[in-house]
Symmetry: C3
Subunit: 465 residues, 3 copies
């Protein structure tokens, strides 16, 4: 049986001289608390603090990073219970077996790193998963899941997560967040995030009904705007620090008030055209920036994704099941109206993410290297892997310096992978900075100061913590 | 006279620690047989087994990689005999002299690597080509070309090519392939490839005449479809495993049957508009995927090229003379209709190539990392060089793992370069995997298993050999 | 106080084996004269040879590389005197203090390298700038600026600049250039560059008046063409070797003569539409290539920039203040008409620059690897940093070889940074070539020959010096 061991130097540069610098740098930040300003953990997970049910529901079913790799390797999502709640034990065990038997599909991916770290660090696994030891590993993990030491709150504390943001619907009553705030036993600061995408897309089926969920009098455009502003205030009152936006493009061309009102009326009447709905959504993205200047919520943009590329999978297993596929992204023109108006506004923090990596050099770094409001968001979704993180580091810092980086964002719904994801980032940051020191582009004291900034100071400043 | 020597470590990583791992890995696959599932060798070359005529017709005239570099350096294509058959000896020798005198133009390119390997390994050349030794090298090579040991079949055996696919017109009678299959003295499995591009482009001049070459009753759309299906069956009967498609974009939007029939009639009548022809070709690409699901031919896509960018060169020297230039590529939207319908079909193997390298990270790896039918084709045309191959390795494997790589494809019409091209790939794969081992992201036993898979297992599985 | 020291190995590869090769190569070119075929130094600076006024006006105010970084870090451009002439001493000193106090914003950027080199090599600074030593450094530099040794001509000689091109308006009388040519005390060859952008953009406000500045009878299209040709001849008579073009796209579709005449008349009448003006400008870019074939001026293209992205900054501080932002670039189709007609013309040298780095692999290298007229311009504006230069080196040379590189172009208005910029380039070229030697892809004698070519021969050939 092959061993699973976590080498202390993993992901550090191979060159011995650079590695020794990287080791020194990494050692200084390895143990710092985790700040997670954007992610998808369900707040009720922490609130309820129920034990995780089984290895499959913890590690496989909800994690589209894992399930898409297995799916591409020929494993049907149905066999993995994707989109279902916890499975009966035989099915959960079978899903786990499929995972272990296909362990080789993870080679070379960051999922492998995250998984190894979680298995070894959280559950003491010391064997490489395979068809042969799948059942034994299942039992080993399942046994620990029953212990208090492995319930969500215990892990939250063990992972040393200082700040954790969730992602929430504007109409959510945030009851879980309210309860969490009142619970003094939780050391982690947990905050909601305002994610209004569907309320801005006026061409969606049933939109007239949907906007009513915002509350208030949404019978006209002014009321709709007021309702959004009110919901933002509510989120802020419960700790929110940011609003997140994820439309297919990043357009921000504002409309005249008359035109906005007219399209809003058409949308309520169900007669809006796709072209009008598009113009309205771009207008509303501009409005969201305006509100961010007013109320201070950090604005994060996650554009450039074709959601649910495979409709049959959407129908069978729901969204977020691994087939959100990037498209080419354009920001320079799309964001120009927003930045023209608000780009130097002292209240605006605009964090730009991309899944089109050429955009780091071509647009994000140049924008972040001029506008004081713009930050380069850490590599996201498909790009949160060592090579693309290294590309991002080089591309952004050589154009805009280190001060324009957002700091790391894990963006995950896989709870146990949070420390491993941050650890990967710290290792890669240490390695990158060590390379600059080795090439005599930075002194080691500067590199250490920069690294600490990236891990602690930068996310606090960018997300106004 | 400067020496030409093949260093055993060439193309392996420079870092001594990584290199020693890479050496161990490479040693295990260096001698494995070659599988070449896509290329442009003429089957009659093998069938006839005539000696190569001279160094120019072997190495220069047909190889647009070489001639474009010389051309960009100021050598007229006419002086190289591009687009001509074998030249009279004085002209062949003069072309060879021009090549040797401009040897420095190859510095830094993979052509240099391929050439050095071919010259040293196949012809025992031990001096760096130059104006001074051009005639001596010509004579040295020409003398060997007259020997039995250097005729095509002897080289095929010496190169240890287990499988060799050619690229063929659907109307080809495949007489050469038929004869090759009947010749038991040939150990290599040689297969045709179905390449229907021009039969799908209804706006081409003379198209109504062209489709008649498919045979059958092509007087209506149904007959045309049936004729294509029949030609595919014929190709399969003679060993074909794949169909290759190379249009400027990758659109696959299907038409309704009435619309397809209508456009087909217009095309036969010569009244089709460019817009209709475009829609029809995209529809037919969708149909080709449908046929691949039915008959099992692997579908390979080589989109994103502006063919014959310099019309004067096309007129003087013909196609494939070095001025097919890439354009930006989009796949996520273009392939969505095809993948919506066939993306999880068990019979479909869809291998995606690109000459727009950003597309590896942005689209190909994400698609291959979800759809079990999609494979990331090896770097092609301008991208088949060490840096771009390394980018491809990183970009695809960190998103989709190793199992979604197509394995190496040489895509060449330069017969003597085949082993050097595969050797380059093996060296780069070994080096990449060694880097993962050195960073403790993979154990060495896994790296070796992966490398062997890339060289042997993967191409066999992807191309259903 | 932290020391500022210039390590002799800075920017050379970290691997000890590769570094030792790089050191040997670099040592051979470190001291060669500088050839600067494209830049933005004001010729009157050399002509007048007045002492630089103060550290702020020398190092900060005119250098948008520096001011944009400070601006993104929160320093208002007004506090830096951007767009103003020399400041009163208290304000100049305050700008310098802001710069020193924000020294950390430069970490990781090439600006840091240029600045360190200038401070240490030109002014003997040996302390890292900070809020604490800002005044002392100001005084140290200001004192030296008063010396003859630090006046422009003395520095020009000390920097060993053999050739220096400026960038000039076609209507400029080039009086400074005329005077410089007559001054035999200047060893540097100083040449104007023809930059006609605004004279080709017929939709600009006031264009009818503007074209009159060209002189001649510009009342009709023929006269306008003749006037441009005449101004080019005038520039050539005063030493110009190139014409530079910087429109947002690279379109070169020619118009029929009737259509060109018609649009020209509309433009004079002030009734031209944006669409017509666009077509006319693309036509005129084609015409510029035609003129380059006639008169021999090298044609350089700097497309793909959204100029003055932040209008409020333009209004307050003028153009070239750090918010020219890249947009996606397309060249294959855009340049096809030009290359179809002139691509193999012996007089044409077309140097292609991009700020969209994916275009190096996708379009520029493939074009340069076929057309003898096309050269790949060195990384420009945001891309003139180590990582992007390394990407450019790999991307272009592996496709097109070394002979298609333009040689380094500093493109700067920051006079004191010229030697540091060329030094960075030489170090990176040495490092890149050393990597090829270490991987046994090139012999060291070839690497040295190539490096010398890049530094000396190539710019001379490409720019016809």
């Amino acid at each position: 049986m092959a061993a699973l061991t976590l080498h202390p130097d993993r992901l550090l540069p191979a060159d011995p001289g650079v590695r020794s610098i990287a080791r020194r740098l990494y050692a200084e930040v390895q143990g710092l608390p985790i700040i997670s300003p954007h992610g998808h953990v369900d707040p009720r997970l922490i609130l309820d603090d129920r034990p995780f049910v089984d290895p499959a529901s913890l590690f496989i079913q909800p994690d589209h990073y894992v399930t898409r790799l297995l799916h591409s390797g020929g494993v049907p999502l149905t066999d993995l219970g994707v989109g279902e709640g916890p499975l009966p034990e035989p099915r959960a065990r079978e899903a786990w077996r499929l995972f272990c038997a296909n362990w080789q599909l993870l080679r070379g991916t960051p999922v492998r790193f995250w998984f190894e770290s979680s298995l070894a660090d959280v559950f003491g696994v010391s064997e490489r998963p395979s068809a042969h030891n799948a059942d034994a590993l299942y039992d080993q993990i399942a046994e620990q899941l029953g212990r208090d030491s492995h319930r969500p709150r215990a892990l939250l504390e063990r992972f040393d997560i200082a700040f954790l943001a969730t992602t929430d619907d504007p109409a959510d009553d945030l009851a879980a967040h309210r309860a969490l705030r009142e619970d003094e036993s939780i050391a982690t600061r947990i905050a909601p995030t305002f994610r209004p995408d569907r309320y801005l897309e006026a061409g969606r089926p049933g939109w007239a009904e949907l906007v009513k969920e915002l509350g208030g009098d949404v019978g006209d455009y002014a009321g709709y705007i007021a309702a959004l502003e009110e919901r933002r205030r509510y989120f802020i009152s419960l700790g929110a620090v940011s609003a997140d936006h994820g439309h297919v493009d990043a357009g921000t061309e504002p409309l005249g008030i008359r035109e906005a009102e007219r399209i809003y009326r058409s949308a309520l009447a169900g007669t809006v055209t796709p072209r009008e709905a598009l113009a309205f959504r771009r207008h509303m993205t501009f409005e969201m920036a305006r509100m961010s200047c007013d109320d201070g919520l950090v604005m994060t943009l996650h554009p450039g994704i074709w959601r649910n590329h495979h409709p049959a999978t959407l129908a069978a297993h729901g969204p977020d099941t691994g087939h959100d596929i990037p498209v080419a992204l354009e920001l320079t023109a799309a964001l120009q109206p927003l930045l023209d108006r608000f780009g130097t506004h002292p209240n605006l923090h605009l964090v730009l993410f991309t899944v089109d990596p050429d955009v780091y050099s071509r647009e994000i770094a140049p924008l972040a290297g001029f506008y004081p409001s713009v930050y380069a968001g850490a590599p996201w979704w498909f790009l949160d892997n060592p090579s693309e993180i290294r590309r991002y580091q080089r591309a952004v810092t050589e154009i805009a310096g280190f001060s324009r980086l957002s700091g790391f964002i894990d963006d995950t719904r896989a709870f146990c992978s949070i420390p491993a994801r941050h650890d990967m980032s710290r290792r890669l940051d240490a390695g990158f900075l060590a390379g600059l020191v080795a090439e005599h582009r930075l002194e080691e004291d500067e590199a250490l100061d920069t690294l600490t900034g990236l891990v602690v100071t930068q996310p606090r400043e960018v997300f106004k913590l």
